[in-house]
Subunit: 381 residues, 2 copies
């Protein structure tokens, strides 16, 4: 398998050759005057008139039942940070590619030239009648939280910020099987999450909802604790279900005796000594990309029972693409208006259940598992 | 040929069967781990990074060089009026179908849940980095004028409100050949335009730019004249190049002695007596849809030399689809930032020139003329 750095040149070459990755396809070719009259004027007026009179039928006569907007302002793109809307377009086209390939969903890349929560919410609400669902992507924390909350409340179509919930769902799926393998109960575990951005916060929230484990979140300043004066509102919210004992300190301190480490933070943050200080059979999800918080071989040498990363060239790849295609497939097919915590947990359980015989090198299914989308879609209802 | 009313049932049936008309297509299928790494993470990061450093190359690596948003707020849809965004979606999908079929442009239907000029401009500007061009559609006058003007000024991609300029361009193309046929010069003609909405205003403006004929615009209250107190700003602007003599009155009055009637107004507005009162060999463009200002047989019986309508079941169909695919094809291919009056005139001349031997039943090419898009695209540079 190639080292990940090798894909750079090929990526540049293929993107230039194809001039992007997505295009528009017609469901029928209007190659006769009659077809033009059926699909455009005058025939189409009858269809518009019908929807005007029966708005609930819009999904039956348009692409609304199968379309999703992949929306970003380009403020938190992969490892690149705030590169702006147009530079983020290749990533959004890529996401649309995954939507189509894995779930046959017609996804359109929309990159926004506005960056405040108010402006993003206004722009997305303005274009929302064009789509059956909204996938928010690569929007920086903490704005992403407010944007998603408001849109989910104010729109009647499903809205999901994938950086938050896609990661949280796949992490939960992996932890369900990992805990089983080492003979622990998640609700008995001490879990340390490194990273309090979109993915870290959503993972903490979903794990709390699922199992109420003892949890601690660590950011670049240390453990998120009640005495800290530098916490924004979103980090303060985390204290409702993490660090209930109110301890202060660093990752170095809090990792001692932990059963599970979840890294959505920075390369090489987790040292061999830290892994050694964890409880018996530690579970390590080191998902910084492309360089994880600790390399799998180091973690194993230090005693890790199970290690997962975000990379495709190691076992146990935690990849959002395991979750979001099935979630939106189900949401569109069942005309779901909101993706709830219960949906997310059901999706995680569906993903976990596809690994019938978990092993340390196989706690989550591969992206090529064709049961993924139908299994998840079935429970998003 | 079928009467136009017959397409209603078939339109409902086909739209329901296909669930809309457009879908997303992938330029390559990501069916291997390597392809996923090239098109998505980690490879795509190199592409985004490159665009961040060289913004001018965005068109080379994304769909920007071939994509257009077809945008409406659903406030002035066909003959249906203000039916709102979602009911207008079938029309916008239809427009996207024409873009793809005639010009191989990837057009995406975007319907807006906002209706003031400020809100529409803000929404379109917010999403503009996602597309290579903006086709505004079915937005009510007078808001459409302000929206187009501001977007054209503030964005660096081509913006065109097709209801205005598509119609104006094809009317001019038709008039070029019609005038030749009856042996008149357009700059010597008296032209009466019935309808002061988007299409009427743009037609007056383009005809003035092209030939400075003697023109009068009539709305439902009568001739647009300096003494009228009920004129909005846009109608007042028309007085800069129409009705320079400042006459008042009705269509009935002003049609006397006219060489050309251009109707973008209401069914059956033009009577046989009015046609009889026109100059020798009157030219009638009666484009109200589906029922024109006067039926072709009546107009001919009353002495019309040439008659054009908006309908496909009569000769000389004035159809915007003759113009907009080629205009956007040229604008995208030549990376044009603004579609100017000179472009519109060049497009009209290109369309007119395709009819090498004009006759009363053939002053404009048919939609099936494959020379249209390349001929127009060539002059939009």
């Amino acid at each position: 398998m190639k080292p990940v750095t090798d894909f750079k040149e090929e990526a540049i070459k293929k993107h230039k050759e194809l001039r992007g990755k997505v295009a528009v396809e017609l469901k029928d070719i209007p190659d006769s005057r009659d077809k033009l009259s059926i699909y455009y004027t005058p025939g189409v007026a009858a269809v518009s008139d019908r929807i005007a009179k029966h708005p609930e039928e819009a999904r039956d006569y348009t692409w609304l039942g199968n379309s999703v907007a992949v929306i970003s302002d380009g403020s938190a793109v992969l490892g690149l940070g705030n590169i702006g809307p147009q530079a983020s377009l290749p990533v959004m086209e890529g996401k649309c590619m995954l939507f189509k390939h894995f779930a046959n969903i017609d996804a359109v890349p929309i990159v926004l030239n506005v960056h405040s929560a108010d402006e993003i919410v206004a722009a997305v609400k303005a274009i929302a009648p064009s789509f059956g669902g909204i996938n928010l992507e690569d929007i920086a924390a903490p704005i992403c939280f407010e944007v998603e909350d408001r849109l989910a409340q104010e729109l009647s179509i499903p809205v999901m910020h994938d950086d938050q919930h896609g990661t949280a769902i796949v992490v939960l799926a992996g932890l369900i099987n990992a805990a089983k393998l080492v003979g622990k109960q998640l609700n008995d575990c001490k879990i340390v999450i490194s990273g309090a951005g979109a993915a870290g916060a959503a993972t903490a929230k979903l794990l709390h909802k699922y199992a109420k484990p003892r949890m601690f979140v660590v950011d670049s300043k240390g453990i998120i604790s009640p005495d800290r004066k530098d916490l924004n509102n979103e980090k303060r919210q985390l204290l409702r279900y993490t660090n209930l004992s109110g301890v202060e300190g660093s990752l170095d301190d809090i990792i001692k005796g932990a059963d599970i480490f979840i890294g959505v933070s920075r390369p090489k943050l987790l040292t061999v000594d830290m892994v050694r200080s964890m409880d018996k059979d530690p579970i390590i999800f080191a998902m910084a990309n492309p360089i994880p918080e600790i390399m799998p071989d180091e973690a194993k040498a230090a005693g890790a029972a199970i290690i997962a990363t975000g990379r495709s060239d190691f076992p146990n790849q935690v990849n959002n693409a395991l979750a979001f295609p099935g979630i939106f497939r189900g949401a569109l097919d069942h005309n779901i208006r909101q993706i709830t915590d219960e949906h997310k947990i059901a999706a995680a359980e569906a993903i976990a259940s596809l690994v019938t015989d978990p092993s340390v090198d196989k706690i989550i299914p591969g992206l090529d598992d064709e049961r993924l989308v139908p299994s998840i879609a079935k429970v998003i209802e």
